[in-house]
Symmetry: C2
Subunit: 246 residues, 2 copies
């Protein structure tokens, strides 16, 4: 549900991909301005919302400079607890976490992105949710513990998955083959997720317990101990995971 335009001014502090995508997502739906974290003294006192979208390590430092503000202040980090605001005299504060991988110069369907909201009070929570609903149809409550788990799960589902594709690309290019040859396979692997759980959709030599193929593939990786190690650990984990369920 998209609500009517937010009346309050929104400042987004940051210069990275998350900050610039949040500004784009809010354009036309709120009066939004991107602010360089190094020029915070220029921040007006007219803000309804101040979103801190900087590196996790820098959130506390930015928040300190906002001490005493009457604006709703929220950070956008998956792994930083709400207590980063403790003792700073920011009455209304919270978290405004969009679960997505943000690249520069990429168009995203913002309406699909799930937003996870936490706040010091239910009143602030409702305000942050109203702001999130300007962007997305998927707005949820999540406390700091749940948000950490979401971030952790997204590292496995996105960052580690992408690294496995990097390894595939390397195996192919070292052998005069093209990563494009794998695209239909990757497309179908992802499409299958929409039809079944990943557990039920598991295929390949490990889940078949095809020891002959496992040995043959290990042999091919003997010259690359790092990749061999990843092969062994993931194959063992597939075998263990599926044995536990038998």
């Amino acid at each position: 549900m998209i609500e009517s335009k937010i009346k309050e001014k929104v400042y987004v502090i940051g210069r990275g991909n998350v900050a610039s995508h949040l500004c784009k997502a809010l354009e036309g739906k709120a009066d939004v301005t991107m602010v360089n974290p190094h020029t915070l003294e220029e921040l007006g006192d007219d803000a309804g919302f101040i979103l801190i979208s900087v590196k996790d390590d820098a959130i506390r430092e930015v928040a300190e400079k906002l001490s005493g503000t009457s604006s709703v202040v929220a950070h956008t980090s998956g792994s930083t607890p709400i207590d980063v605001f403790n003792g700073l005299g920011i009455d209304r504060h919270g978290v405004f976490y969009p679960l997505q991988t943000f690249s520069s110069d990429v168009k995203l369907d913002y309406n699909e992105i799930p937003f996870f909201i936490e706040a010091e009070s239910s009143e602030t929570s409702e305000m942050l949710k109203a702001l999130a609903r300007q962007i997305s149809g998927n707005v949820y409550d999540a406390d700091s513990e749940k948000r950490k788990k979401l971030h952790l799960a997204s590292v496995f589902a996105c960052n580690f998955v992408n690294h496995l594709w990097t390894i595939s690309d390397r195996i192919l290019s070292e052998n005069g083959l093209d990563f494009d040859m794998l695209r239909p396979l990757i497309k179908e692997t992802t499409a299958k997720l929409g039809r079944t759980t990943p557990f039920e959709g598991q295929t390949g030599p490990a889940v078949r317990n095809d020891l002959k193929i496992l040995d043959l593939q290990r042999e091919q990786l003997e010259s690359d101990p790092e990749i061999l190690n990843i092969y062994n650990i993931l194959s063992d984990s597939i075998i263990n995971t599926h044995n536990r369920q038998k």
Copy 2:
């Protein structure tokens, strides 16, 4: 390029997902019959092609029963070398390898599937390629070594990726969260592959060398040594891979 219908009879030996998808893919384009590997004696002597689509371990045994045939005999395995046919008196033989993950009861766009062909002679190779082009626009030569590398790369790109999604699903469900919340992230992770190499598209705490988040996420996995081990090895591999390129 789809060529005109193949005149020769095609038998597909096997009862699994690959065999049944190959039959579906060839329907209307060749006179194709699926054959149970246990009833090979019923096989007519009218075949142009016999495709052996059984488990890797069983290919030799099936091929032995075809000794002396004048048909073109090919197996469909990624990791079995062409020399599995050695000494069997099958004059025309080869490999007909479709690189895809085949699930039962799933519609696939067969025209996209890359086929990798190898044969004992260029004449047989051309015949197998003509058959493959009935199905797909992407038909390539690949010797047994290259095919093994393709299969290995596909284990990383498909089977291992799917297992990481299984782990994500487990982290979420153990914490009262829903895998559906990750779907937009997974969709964008895959979409990004079409715009950049996976190496260039890498995001997350490991590639940022964000040691604070890495430590925090390791803490969350302390009770699960298997998953913690996967976390450490993949994070280290991301860091190593990207350091090597600096």
